[in-house]
């Protein structure tokens, strides 16, 4: 199984990514996908600008994926993160985890998102509907707590 990690400006197609990961296999019992989208924040937000650290973003996502593979018996895993300008309603991030059983697929997908949030070098800046440049989005303590609940591998 070769994990797929991509950093790209263009949008992704969830169905195509599930199909690519399945690839005619007949031993996969469970596929969990997580899609993170840009919210309009009640009409306040015109777009998000996503800055990233090229090179490190790929490396760090690769490390997060390897950690997930060491913890759960995954048959496939895909992580795609966009950068650049993303409009409300559009996709930002995709995680796909496939396993023989559902618990592993759910846990791995949630782990990947929790880790990615606090470790992948991406930064969001808001562009507002009034035409002004908004602030850099602040990191949430809740995200650190979410990542912290995954104990180190045993």
């Amino acid at each position: 199984m070769t994990p797929i990690v991509r950093i790209q400006a263009q949008d992704f197609d969830v169905a195509a990514e599930i199909a690519a990961l399945g690839g005619g296999r007949r031993d996969i019992g469970a596929v969990v996908t997580f899609t993170g989208l840009c919210r309009d924040e009640g009409g306040r937000l015109a777009a998000l600008e996503l800055e990233h650290y090229p090179g490190m973003a790929e490396a760090e996502l690769g490390r997060v994926v390897e950690e997930a593979r060491a913890r759960w018996p995954l048959q496939g895993v895909t992580v795609i993160h966009r950068y650049g300008r993303v409009l409300p309603g559009q996709n930002i991030v995709l995680v796909v985890a496939a396993s023989a059983h559902r618990r592993a697929a759910f846990e791995a997908a949630e782990f990947l998102m929790d880790y990615l949030k606090t470790r992948a070098p991406f930064w969001k800046r808001e562009h507002l509907t009034d035409g002004s440049m908004g602030a850099w989005v602040e990191a949430k303590e809740a995200d650190d707590a979410a990542a912290g609940r995954w104990a180190p591998p045993g």
């Binding site: 993170g36 996503l50 800055e51 990233h52 650290y53 090179g55 490190m56 490396a59 760090e60 993160h81 930002i92 991030v93 998102m113 990615l116 949030k117 606090t118 470790r119 992948a120 070098p121 991406f122 930064w123 969001k124 800046r125 850099w136 989005v137 602040e138 990191a139 995200d143």
Partner: protein, 85 residues
């Protein structure tokens, strides 16, 4: 020691450039030493690192803590807490 520094998000904006090459004096051994040295270079660095505990660092594409040794580093990055996903 010559090393490339890269900055992201509001750290980049405060420093006023995305990257630079610097020659470090011998006493600068850790990330924390480097931050202290940078703050002595001008007020843009003082501003960027005004809350040192908030700014994160990476050496050659891996996250590191302030006490990490920088010997042998090719590229050292400074950036705010990440907000991807």
């Amino acid at each position: 020691m010559r090393v490339k520094l890269v900055y992201f998000a509001w750290v980049r904006e405060r420093v006023g450039r995305p990257d630079e090459e610097v020659d470090l004096p011998d006493g600068v051994a850790t990330v924390a030493d480097l931050v202290r040295w940078l703050k002595g270079r001008g007020e843009e660095y003082d501003y960027a690192f005004e809350n040192e505990a908030v700014v994160r660092a990476a050496i050659d594409h891996s996250h590191v803590k302030p006490d990490a040794a920088i010997a042998g580093a090719r590229e050292i990055a400074f950036f705010p807490p990440m907000t991807g996903g």
